[in-house]
């Protein structure tokens, strides 16, 4: 592994032309701090608590070269038409911008690529593209552990592109903003995207991040890290739908800073045949800040899906609600780790967490681990975990009404997922339902 770490370190130095912003002091320092951190920590192994469910063998054994082979040929099959309520859509193909589509962009909404902002407005990005250390794990022993964030450090060093969304004060975005990432990378390559969503005071916005990696035969490694800021009284709904091919390793990280009286909803739906891991780390930084984190993991064949959430209640009267639903078929595996941390003095915290898994085959496996770290006195926290098969009582009830067995199974499985889908904003329900239908049909 040390060898591999060194190889990536050399690769970073050799491929500097691929990484924008090295002429800007703070960004250069950020990248260099990150590659140094990665050189020290490497990819997390099973001794890191957050990574102890599955070893990402390919990540630790294979070497991936930064993707640089852009042909600008777009496979239109994977790019659907822009939705009617989508005010602006940014389309990336293999990590490169291909199009920004909009009709009449209302005032107060800025959406462009990371490279555009680096070139034209680097000062806006400063202190918003954050260091991996910012979300390092504080252990109860007071040790600060940077290792769980080493993929974020890796992304911070190697990111080539990304999207930036900036919503100005009191602007309420009509419809939604879509970030579409289509990936058809060549073998043994990697691509890392770094995005920023910044909502000023009192603004409101819905975002769909649609990640489709179609890599049936070739092993590729991709990551997205999104820094999110929800200022006082603002409201953001961030919906991340991830579809991945058989040999794709995709690691997604969402870092949310949620301020006073603001609201952040994050929904992730993952349906992949390879390995997908989605981490949501949300800090509630002002009174009455609230967050809702929903995850739906749909596993089949030999897929590995992991969801990790961490909500940190740092101020009084903050609220969080986490819901994970996991449906696994065939040989698929999944894990859910959900953590609620209530800092000292954050009284009046209300935190709920529930994780339910449905195993549809004998070989499917799931690990679910809820964790509460409560350092305040006056809090209400709940957590619940269930793992089971389809209920025989429910099956009998449906069949006794004349619904054939196959249809009854489908109805029950989708109803299990609907708990997440029905909570989506109406702009995204059809898309999410389509992911469910594709999951059944594959």
């Amino acid at each position: 592994m040390k060898n591999l770490q060194h190889k990536y370190y050399e690769s970073y130095k050799d491929n500097k032309l691929l990484f924008p912003g090295l002429d800007i002091t703070w960004l250069k320092e950020l990248r260099e701090e990150a590659i140094a951190q990665f050189k020290k920590d490497g990819f997390p192994d099973k001794s890191v608590e957050e990574w102890n469910n599955h070893s990402y063998k390919n990540l630790k054994e294979k070497y991936f070269t930064p993707f640089s082979d852009n042909k600008f040929e777009i496979n239109s099959k994977l790019i659907e038409k822009r939705g009617s309520n989508c005010v602006i859509r940014v389309v990336f193909y293999n990590g490169t911008l291909t199009n920004i589509e909009y009709d009449n962009l209302p005032e107060g909404i800025e959406v462009n690529t990371l490279t555009h902002f680096i070139k034209h407005k680097p000062s806006f990005l400063k202190d918003k593209i954050s260091s991996a250390y910012k979300y390092a794990e504080e252990r109860l022993s007071n040790i600060v552990d940077s290792r769980p964030q080493s993929i974020v450090a890796f992304n911070t060093a190697f990111h080539q592109e990304g999207a930036v969304i900036h919503i100005k004060k009191n602007v309420k975005v009509p419809g939604f903003i879509e970030l579409l990432h289509i990936g058809e990378y060549s073998k043994d390559t990697m691509q890392h995207m770094r995005s920023l969503v910044y909502l000023e005071e009192g603004s409101e916005c819905e975002v769909l991040e649609n990640i489709i990696n179609d890599t049936a035969n070739d092993l590729v490694f991709t990551s997205n890290v999104t820094d999110i800021y929800v200022s006082k009284g603002a409201s953001l709904s961030f919906n991340c739908f991830i579809k991945g091919g058989t040999n794709n390793i995709h690691i997604n990280n969402i870092h949310g800073a949620v301020h006073e009286d603001s609201k952040f909803t994050s929904t992730s739906i993952m349906s992949a045949l390879g390995q997908v891991r989605s981490e949501n780390r949300i800090n509630l930084l002002g009174e009455n800040a609230s967050t809702k984190i929903d995850m739906l993991l749909l596993g089949s064949k030999d897929s590995l899906l992991e969801g990790l959430t961490k909500v940190k209640h740092s101020k009084k009267n903050t609220f969080s609600d986490q819901k994970a639903r996991i449906i696994l078929n065939e040989n698929s595996k999944a894990s859910f780790q959900g953590k609620v941390r209530v800092d000292k003095g954050s009284d009046g915290t209300l935190a709920n967490m529930s994780s339910k898994s449905l195993l549809l085959s004998k070989k499917a496996r799931v690990n679910s681990k809820p964790e509460l770290e409560i350092l305040a006195d006056d809090v209400r926290c709940s957590h619940g975990v269930t793992i089971g098969n389809l209920s025989l009582e429910q099956m009998f009830y449906l069949r006794s009404r004349g619904i054939p067995e196959v249809e009854a199974r489908k109805l029950l499985v989708s109803s299990f997922g609907n708990i997440i889908i029905d909570d989506l904003n109406k702009n995204f329900i059809d898309k999410a339902k389509k992911i469910m239908t594709d999951y059944f049909n594959d």
Partner: protein, 251 residues
């Protein structure tokens, strides 16, 4: 009168324990039969076996439904050919709206019988009419099946489903339990409305009260896995007076 259901000498085991021990019962077309009996006598087992629930081992006996071998039919085939079980404990199905559930069921049955499916508008029209008859608010169409329903609402929803699916043989497994007098009356009226359409029924109950409204043609006492006494409504009155022990002669 032709026969809707004929059970002959039925022996059923659950987990190797014999529950039904030579039960015979005949229900004619349009007949409403009440089955009363002490706890553990096998009433709910009979209901489950008729509906086709798994986990029941039929050791001996035959069940003919409209001349066909009921035991050879799958649960969904039984439903499509008109067998309906109103559950003692209706099952909650989070994430499925009641209207989606009933429409899926109704159309599956229609498909199975070679009839055209109802479209959304036709279905809604029928559902509204039936809900009105049962004095149910239409709000429950969009609520998940039985989730958060009160005991009375659950039973009423069972009768709503029954009236939507218009069965030939309805088995009401303690549909009166958990209902107050007003709800009981509405539920019974709902069932009686269907009787005009020549419904046969098996009403499993512990109480005389439901029978006051449903006015069954026959009353059967089920004890220790078989029918030990059959009579008319006077049997129920006798039962009320003397209790099961007084009738079965057990000490």
């Amino acid at each position: 009168m032709s026969t809707t259901l004929e059970i002959k000498d039925l022996y059923v085991e659950v987990d190797s324990k014999e529950i039904l021990k030579g039960l015979s019962l005949k229900i004619e077309h349009g007949e409403m039969a009440a089955i009363m009996g002490p706890n553990g006598s096998g009433k709910s087992t009979l209901a489950s076996v008729l509906a086709g629930k798994e986990g029941y081992n039929i050791v001996n006996g035959t069940i003919k439904y409209l001349g066909n071998d009921l035991l050879k039919m799958s649960t969904e085939e039984r439903a499509s050919s008109g067998v309906f079980l109103a559950f003692q404990y209706p099952v909650e199905i989070p994430g499925v709206a009641t209207s989606t559930f009933v429409r899926t069921a109704l159309n599956a049955q229609r498909r199975n019988r070679g009839e055209d499916e109802l479209d959304a508008m036709e279905f809604l029209k029928l559902a509204r009419q039936k809900a009105k008859e049962l004095e149910m608010s239409e709000d429950f169409f969009q609520r998940a099946v039985n989730v958060g329903f009160s005991g009375g609402e659950k039973k009423r929803a069972e009768v709503f489903q029954m009236s939507m699916l218009s069965p030939t043989l309805a088995i009401l497994d303690e549909t009166d339990s958990g209902l107050d007098i007003d709800a009981l009356k509405i539920v019974a009226e709902g069932v009686n409305k269907l009787r005009d359409n020549k419904l046969s029924g098996i009403v499993i109950t512990h109480y005389q009260r439901l029978l006051d409204y449903l006015k069954p043609d026959t009353i059967h006492i089920l004890a220790d896995g078989k029918i030990i006494k059959t009579g008319d409504k006077s049997l129920a009155l006798l039962l009320e007076e003397k209790g099961y022990q007084g009738i079965t002669g057990a000490n």
